[in-house]
Amino acid sequence: MTLLQIKDLSAFYGRTQALFNCSFDVSEGEFIALLGSNGAGKTTMLRALSGLLHFEGSIAYAGTSLGKVSPQRRLELGIAHIPQGRGTFTEFTVDENLSLGATIVTSRSQIKEDKERWYDAFPRLKERRDQLAGNLSGGEQQMLAVARALMSRPKLLMCDEPSLGLAPSITQEILTIFKTLHRDHGMTLLVVEQNVDITLQYADRAFVIEAGQIVASGTAVEMVNNEDIKKSYLGVAG
């Protein structure tokens, strides 16, 4: 079943156009990688999807048009966005960060239950629950960002460059978490990355964005084997 249907999406920063008529579909339960170089328009795509940026064209999520839907409402519909730089509330404690992730949740027992669940899944966060989030390491902050996003029980989790500033082994760890969420919880994932080779090991399908347009798409296996695409758009040699 199609969860996300994007048609002729264009987006602007002031007068500068950043996305040109992009169209693609995402099925429920897919792990999608959105690849491309710096400034290609990947982040813009996520911002349009989560409601931080006005767009032209149409985005339909589970059959609902997102044109005039507020960011809060999108979160209630199940779209969570972990922004670049992780969106950490650095002057708040780890526990408060998780509470903020559950802003749209009304049931207190659900919040308590979810906190315990994610503290069990991320014991490092549990140890530091009363520390200021700004004092965590990059990897820990990324885990906190994931846990925070999960507090709203999203159906579609979008993450902007999780590997940024992290050691490769930690990037692998984060992507493994995504894979688990995808496999065990049927979560749909849209992960923006520049780190092509590692990401393609985990994703089902991938799109390549270049200069605001989608220039290639295919399954992860096809992408890995297509040297042309890798060379011309992703700057990966051999």
Binding site: S50, L52, G87, F89, E91, F92, L100, T103, R148, S152
Partner: protein
Amino acid sequence: MSLFFQLVVSGLTTGAIYAALALALVLIFRATNVVNFGQGEMATFSAYCTWQLMEWGAPLWVALLVSLAGSFAVGVITFRAVIRPLMSAPVEAIVVVTLGIFVLFQAAGMWLWGAEQRSFPSLFPDGGFNVGDVRILNSTVGTLVILVMIAVLMGLIFSFTRLGLSMRAAAFDHARSVLVGVNVERMLMLGWGFAAVIGAFAAILIAPRLFLNPTMMTPILFYGLAAATLGGWDSPLGAIAGGLIVGVAESLGASYLSFIGADMRIAVPIALTLLILLVKPVGLFGSYKVTKL
């Protein structure tokens, strides 16, 4: 020695005034990251509304409740009308707008009620009591108790409720808050509303002593700012402690330091502010850096 204690008590009495204004300034800073230079004038306006309702025959408590509710509305409307459209503007623009609020509310008070001083009933019984040789007024004690209660309540709301957490998040970072589902605009609006209520409370508490007039709060704006800086811009109890310290130091300095005397007493808060900023820039009770105006 009894002179010393009498000076301390008189310092605490003035300090309570500074503390009240500082409390309102700190709340709005904590909730919206803006220093509202017009806070004191908005508060004076609220005190006038209370007075007007009583003139029309309303009992004190009714007048108080109605004007506190009215202040909340005025805070919300001010935010919607003039601050929200400028949220993405440079800080300087917001500074000028809060100065505009200052001028506007003072002028409105002057226009509606004129410049003459009016007496304002105290919420507390007249008189006081003696501790040894030192005379303490009921109103001083009452004002301080109410202020501390407000500060504690504010602190509890900010630290332990979901609403408080969302308000702090909205003040901390707009985009990040939007992404976790915080309705940033509503939080900032509530922040302005609550700050207006606290400001109104402050003005009503101190109006009996200062006498109600449109410029009642103007001379103490700097003392409020100094008190907030001393206590720390993110700490409601710090604001009260800061206000009391400024009040006591001013009272002692003006009497004991001959080169300051009564006419240069404002040098005391300047020196205190400078000292705390150079020694501990976040203030006595502050916990994070304040760099934004």
